[in-house]
Amino acid sequence: MAARVKRTKKKNLKQIAFTRFMLIVAVFVIWIGGISVRLVHLQVKQHDELSDRAARQRQEVKRSKLLRGSIFDRNGRTMAMSVNVKTLYADATEISDAKAAAKSLAKALGQNEQSLFKLLSSAKEDDRRFVPIAKGLDETEVQKINKALEDQNIKKATSPKSEGLYWRDDQKRSYPNGSLAAHIIGFSNADGMGQAGIEQSQNEILYGAVIKRTFERDRLGRVYDEVVSEKEPPKDIVLTISNPIQFATERALERAVKASNARSGMAVVIANKTGEVLAMANYPTFDPNKISNADPEHFKNGVIQDVYSPGSVFKLVTYGSALERDLITPEGEVDSGNGTIEVARHRFRDSHSIGRVTYTKALAHSSNVCAIKTGMRVGREGFFDLVQKFGFGRPTGIELPAETGGLVRPPARWNGDSLASMSIGYEIGVSALQMATAFATIANDGVKIQPHIIKEIRQSDATIISSAAPESTRVVSDKTARDLRKMLREVVLSGTGRRAKLDGYSSAGKTGTAWKFDPVLKRVNPGKYTSSFVGFAPVDDPEVTIAVVMDEPKTGARDGGGVAAPVFREIADQILPQLNVPYDMTVTAENDSPDIIDIPESVGNGDELPATGDDKTDEAPPVAGPTKLVTSTALVKRAEEVQTPAVKTSPTPSSTTAKKAVESKKKRIDPPVPKTLGSVAPKARSSTTRVRQKT
């Protein structure tokens, strides 16, 4: 019995232990089950929401732009580069006490407290989250401001440790040389987009892409991991420009424009053998660092964007086409007669009659009559062919924006006198770069090399990605180029370009003085000139071609030989030694002499002769050329409208009346000749008067 009781007790104890054990297990199972359910709920159902919250808590995403690519000159000098700057801004929604914030900011930045308070309180009212306080600050300034703004009570991962204030990374574009080569470099806007020059044309290469940076922070705000989205870094551009040459060119041009009181001036220097543009200057200019203060009219790069009538400089093409077709030789003779020539009721004149001379002499004295005769011998097609071969009428393809192609009409649209006008550089519009390229072609033995301004494009680690490979085309034969060089040399030695003589170097070139087209008068204005000189040096192995164009010089000599040739000389004298070009002549002080007697240059496109009744039917329609005189019919019409009483009462036949009216109209239009006018214009004027009296 006792044993049975004992066994039962033992059995009960075992049972109790088992039950208790099972209870504990059950509790554990329920507990773990509960946790598991919760975990499943958190990790499956609330996964996205919670992971986002966690990421927000520890991650900081910043979007910033890579620094825009730099622009260098050929010697590696920086022309444009971007630097990191910071902007201090306020999140007005986070600022509790605007007055206290304004006070501390005013102290740190040295700004007016009241204006800051106004700014912050108005932003707070509008719930603005970005209120820029200070812009364009470098790291040193940032550190100073951080120190000044530090508030011990604020627990913040980022500086400044002040309520509602943050820094934003920005970049600033700087042009260390100021206005130097401003028209080439251009400028970019606040968004880092190029607006002019190389900055605009090469924007895709220079543009710094936007990158995303993800920072992982611990609970104290310390960054322990950083992920940066990969983007292609911007490239750097190396130009063919040389800083010292550009500076010399700009200085010479500036001095000349100021001295001659010209409206503007432009100059370009090209390396003949490579087609590299060594300098390209315009005056007036601007400083891309202070773009808001600049006059937008000065942004235009006249060297490639302005179209002008080249005048006598274009005789290069006239004589070139004749030489190329073996129609003339430099030593061959041409008769300029009494210094006038009539073509299709249009009388062209020389400033002075030079009689029977060689073609070399005719070019040296810039005889219009001889050039027209030469052009007429070549004929329309032959002349137009060479004009096209030289590249007039289409852009040169230089890597700058908004380049003009010039104005060249096909022979089908020419008038009777167009060939004559074009032979002396009228009825055609060219850019200074086109004209310089034509001369560089002659200097380079007749082979035209496409002018270019970008030498190479490279990565930030200086690995070259692409280099310039300009096209080269033969325009005229080697012999023609040699002959032309010889003829152009004579222009400097004994012709209109004697002020282009250099010290220690031989030089050659051609002067040009053209009447400007007046958009108000709708005809060329004999009181306004475009004076130019295009030349190269040294003559036997020309290294550089320099083109100088002065727009409306008003003081002193106004012809190309008097205004532009000295600029050519000043530039060439400075840059040839810089380029290590060996002297080919002995240095003489002759060039400094102010006693150089200028040979007057034939200026102007002559006069339309009055139309007779029969002629009127043959009259060609008005031409939209840049320098075309209004046709005689139109002129007669206008003359009738403005007839003076004297003309009205005149008993002379209608044609005479018309002629007088034309002359009276012209007298009325022509501005008075200033007393300071050089020797050239008055001579030309008196010559014109004499001829009129004869007729």
Binding site: E139, P176, Y224
Partner: protein, 181 residues
Amino acid sequence: MRKRNAPRPRMTADSAARSTEISWQYLVLLLICGSVFAAGFFFAARQHFLSMDYGFKNSKLKKQLEDLEAEQRRLTLEREVSLSPTAIRKATRMLAGYKDQGDEMPTAAVVQTVAKGLAPQAIPVSLRLPIKATVMSKISAAKISEPEVKARQDNSENHARNGATRERLAPEKMTAVAKLR
């Protein structure tokens, strides 16, 4: 098939004691496993904190690198600004004692032109002196060692040519003089 009535083997006291006794090998193995397990956790934690630490250091270095690069760019820009022709011209004007106003600074060529047109005494002192004074002060500022001074004196005594004097000058002085010229 097991027999239902078959007697179960009785557990004696000895066998019961033997069965409850845990062998020491088992304990050692358990200890080792536990240690490895704990060491693993410890190692993992250490690695984690180490990686965090490296992360902090890495990000700090990155920041420093960025700051230094930015500073380098800023300094490059400053150097370029100070080396720009305009800045050099300004500095030259200041050295030559001209106000930073007006367009023209008389260069050698201009002085020469003035000299041609006018008698030498008619050239304003302001056009001549500063250039000379600057050059002289620059030359005197260049330190010349005693042997060089001696060599110069010898040369002057012997009426030696300038070329001979130049040969005796230290190369760095030669460069300095050449630059000034």
